[in-house]
Symmetry: C2
Subunit: 152 residues, 2 copies
DNA sequence: TATAAACTTTTTAAGCTTAAAGTATTTTCC
DNA sequence: GGAAAATACTTTAAGCTTAAAAAGTTTATA
């Protein structure tokens, strides 16, 4: 195979991945909106906080989700308004704040997470366990393989 | 395998796809910005217009890119400002407009497209032609497989 | 031919996203 | 101790994104 055709094949693969990912994101966004009055970014933030027993600092959240600092500030602002999250001062460092789910936030997340997994399972109906495993392996060879295992 | 573990495996696959896709998008966005003073949405729109000899109506563009009408309006507004695109009245239907790349727009897109393919090829360096082909096939089983071949 | 329905696009309001600049605080190190 | 650098976060400006509403135009139909 020529380098030419390899390059084209990789480009095709990328476009296909992009299309599938956008479609799934769009479905998730729609359902979070209509069924939970929420959004995908909010869900992502809440998932990260749910997994962290003691909450996270803003910059940890930002690193973990790979989004900008300012972006996290805005999303947290809104989650605080909604009563799902609280900012807690950190002893001995007045620059930073720790962010935690409130118990209402935890409850709300649990409800979304159960459905989220159901939605994904349905959307990926055509994918067998073997397929999933196989694609997963191949994805490791793609960019952004988790250099930091804690982020994957 | 239990339905339980299949569901978990699919969820893991989704999260991995999402991570890879976001990483690649982030790289592309960064390079379009620094090297071409452009953005990914602009690139997508220009790609669609480049492929359409006679340009496209706004709603065709919107359908093809799977983004909202209002979104397309804004992107086209900015491309028109930049002189990359022009709106052309359609004979016999004063509701619609046809949108075309200007020759400056075509030239600018060509330059970006060449590099874009190079970037993807480098980012997907670890993927052989076989892999690419294989994942591509599997992706057909995922949601949003092109029901309309003209959109893939 | 009216007028209702459908279509095409833009506008609006709200939120997400980034990079860059700004503010405050802590750490480094001379 | 004090200046400089690093760190943590927020603000700002610009653009992307959506859903819903609005405005104008065309088509269907009664």
């Amino acid at each position: 195979m020529t380098a030419e055709s390899l390059s084209k094949e990789r480009l095709r693969l990328w476009l296909r991945m992009l299309r599938v990912t956008r479609q799934v994101e769009s479905e998730l966004r729609e359902r979070l909106r209509t069924e939970h009055d929420s959004t995908l970014p909010r869900f992502d933030v809440m998932a990260a906080l749910y997994a962290a027993e003691e909450g996270l600092k803003m910059n940890e959240l930002s690193k973990r989700l790979r989004v900008s600092n300012g972006n996290v500030t805005g999303i947290i602002d809104r989650l605080v308004e909604d009563g799902a999250v609280e900012r807690i001062a950190i002893e001995g460092d007045r620059r930073a704040t720790r962010v935690c789910l409130t118990s209402a936030g935890r409850e709300s997340f649990r409800a979304m997470a159960v459905e989220h997994e159901r939605w994904i399972n349905a959307l990926f109906e055509g994918v067998t366990e073997e397929d999933a495993h196989h694609i997963g392996e191949l994805l490791h060879r793609l960019p952004a393989a988790p250099h930091d295992a804690s982020l994957s």
